[in-house]
Amino acid sequence: MQNSMLETETPTPTSLGTATVRLVVRNHPGVMSHICGLFARRSFNLEAIACLPLDDGTRSGMLLGVREEDRITQLIAQLRKLEDVLDVRIDPQGREAFEAVREYMA
């Protein structure tokens, strides 16, 4: 997923970002808009996204492939401010999950 209006260069099509961020969020119909809206509003680069309900469905897990080397601290601080975001962590293993999804999508 691209903030295409804000891009200055075209990333390689295989890019999954420079870091994988794992979120636990409240599961309701607007939560994806809040996350994606933050990326658009702050012009953070989002390369990949996966979202699944967890447990009884009141929470969701989200995996974000982001391309933000210099601003990753700022990105995480902004994500933590969202009311619907319950947990934020960098998860290097998330890349494997994205690779598996990519294989499926290929």
């Binding site: 607007g30 808009s33 809206g37 700022q74 601080a77 933590r80 401010k81 619907d84």
Partner: protein, 562 residues
């Protein structure tokens, strides 16, 4: 057990939050709420445009520090509120906007007056809700107030479909009112580190902003500045936190600050940034801001630390709590060498106020009016040259005295904000300094002012221009003036009278000072039109994008010191 409709429940929950006044406008999708409002203790103030209602709520919130509420209907009601909500987000003002929405069964059908209020308000709120059942209101309404007032304050939108307003709900008891979360604990090791930085600095400056006012930290700030002899500079929104006549107070920094203030920052070796966000109008080119200073940044919002400038030490916390913990660790110092240098620069490069004695010139209007306005009056402005002249020249002395649209820079803010301030504090006067461009953007609220008979005085600096646009075209666009002059010049005094508001035109007065004194002495709303020179500029000025050291000063400014 008792039964209520969703709309009745909203009113009861708002009453329990301590809400006594709600500005707003009814329409199809929020009529159940207005029906419930009729039998509520809450007083409704009928605005004439939802943006006016939103700014009235802001005026109440800025005056009191407590969250205020406004109402709008679906569709255009919600879109009209958006500017006021976005303005509250950028200036961290706690408001709760409650909008009607089409019934849930019709959401997504492009129903009459349907708009995706939830989607539209995501980027301009701290948080927002689309309420899906009356039972959800029990959580959402208190939570909206908790979110609006916790940590860094801000706006919250609650969108309520009409069927949720009409639904009946049984309950045994009301939930507890929402209140602000406790601020994060102050960490001793951070305070100790900060104290070491401050105690070992030789040329420190306190750089304060709206966070000082939001956290009610003016007292402790004054104590610390006094004990440590550290000079204080303020952002636009921090005005009032330090009294204008305090010997250590250097006024506003940045784009229209005194040259000496920006020069002093240039020489500082420690910037104590307290409740500020390093806005570009304050810092100029951020990379060249305070090039010789370590930065100690204290803010309640962790995402502000390092967003623009990487601090040497960043402390996430309530700025008042942190300053109170810091105070006993700070050495009592004179900083005589540094203050000598500060005073030398202040003497050499003060803020010039040409015409300060002349009631028909911008600085004169502000200074002369300030002498006539009661000390406890609330001062609002619109956006433009008059705003900067007021910020530079008005002798602010207490926090929450000053309301202006800082971050969003919204023309049209001043009049409805003043009405809100006067509604919240009916024993005080609210004075709106405005310009002819700005005032027209929400002039319909003169009708509200007349209807509510609020003690609001509009002092209109009338130059028949978008003055700050004209100024930029003169200075940075080779004098290629375009679309900045108003060729039709409305008779503002006649317009005010047409709304039922008393009006004075100082251009036609034989004794302008007497006329202004008379206007300010009467109760109720009035408008004072003051024609000013059309080509006057605000100086000094940092060109947009330039470093603060590269201020420019105009001819009239230079003449003062030639």
């Amino acid at each position: 057990m008792f039964q209520l409709t969703g709309a009745e429940l909203i009113m009861r929950l708002l009453e329990r939050q301590g809400i006594t006044i709600i500005p707003g406008i009814p329409g199809g999708a929020n009529l159940p709420m207005y029906d419930a409002l009729r039998s509520s203790k809450i007083r409704h103030v009928l605005a004439r445009h939802e943006q006016g209602a939103g700014f009235m709520a802001q005026g109440m919130a800025r005056a009191t520090g407590r969250a205020a509420v406004c109402f709008g209907t679906s569709g255009p009601g919600a879109t009209n509120l958006i500017t006021a909500i976005a303005d509250a987000k950028l200036d961290s003002i706690p408001i709760v906007a409650i909008t009607g929405q089409v019934p849930q069964a019709m959401i997504g059908t492009d129903a009459f007056q349907e708009i995706d209020t939830y989607g539209l308000t995501i980027p301009i709120t701290k948080h927002n809700y689309l309420v899906r059942s009356a039972a959800e209101l029990l959580d959402v309404i208190p939570d909206a107030f908790r979110v609006a007032t916790s940590g860094r304050p801000g706006p919250v939108v609650v969108d309520v479909p009409k069927d949720v307003q009409n639904a009946r709900i049984e309950l045994e008891d009301f939930p507890e009112p929402g209140k602000a979360d406790a601020p994060p604990p102050v960490r001793d090791e951070e305070v100790a580190h900060a104290a070491t930085m401050i105690n070992s600095a030789r040329r420190p400056v306190l750089f304060i902003g709206a966070g000082i006012i939001a956290s009610e930290a003016s007292e402790i700030l004054r104590t610390i500045a006094g004990r440590t002899s550290i000079p204080v500079v303020s952002t636009l929104l921090g005005l009032g936190a330090m009294p204008d006549d305090h010997p250590l107070y250097l006024g506003m920094l940045g784009m229209h600050g005194a040259r000496s203030t920006n020069m002093i920052l240039e020489e500082s070796d420690l910037l104590i940034a307290a409740g500020v966000r390093f806005d570009d109008r304050a810092t100029g080119k951020a990379a060249e801001f305070c090039p010789n200073a370590k930065i100690l940044h204290i803010d309640i919002d962790p995402s502000e630390l390092g967003k623009i400038k990487q601090p040497t030490l960043g402390i996430t916390g309530d700025v008042g709590s942190v300053l109170r913990a810091l105070a006993p660790r700070l050495h009592s110092t004179q900083h005589s060498e540094w203050l000598d240098r500060v005073n030398e620069l202040r003497g050499a490069h003060p803020l010039a106020m040409p015409g300060a004695e002349d009631l028909l010139q911008p600085y004169g209007i502000v200074r002369q009016a300030a002498e006539l306005i009661p000390d406890n009056a609330i001062i609002t402005t619109d956006v433009g040259q008059h705003q900067m002249w007021t910020a530079q020249a008005f002798p602010f002395s207490w926090p929450r005295q000053w309301q202006t649209s800082g971050g969003l820079g919204t023309m049209g803010f001043g009049l409805p904000a003043a009405i809100g301030a006067a509604l919240a504090m009916p024993d005080r006067m609210a004075v709106c300094f405005s310009g002819d461009g700005s005032l027209l953007m929400n002039i319909q609220e003169l009708a509200t002012a007349a209807e509510e008979d609020v003690n609001v005085k509009v002092i209109l600096m009338n130059n028949a221009h978008l003055g700050l646009v004209r100024q930029q075209q003169e200075l940075f666009y080779g004098r290629r003036f375009h679309a900045s002059k108003f060729h039709a010049e409305p008779d503002f005094a006649a317009i005010a009278r047409g709304f039922g508001v008393a009006a004075y035109d100082l251009g036609e007065s034989t004794d302008p000072r007497e006329s202004m004194a008379h206007a300010l002495a009467e109760s109720g709303p009035c408008l004072i039109n003051v024609p000013i020179t059309r080509e006057e500029n605000v100086y000094p000025m940092v060109p947009p994008g330039a470093a603060n050291r590269d201020m420019i000063e105009g001819e009239s400014y230079a003449k003062q010191y030639a």
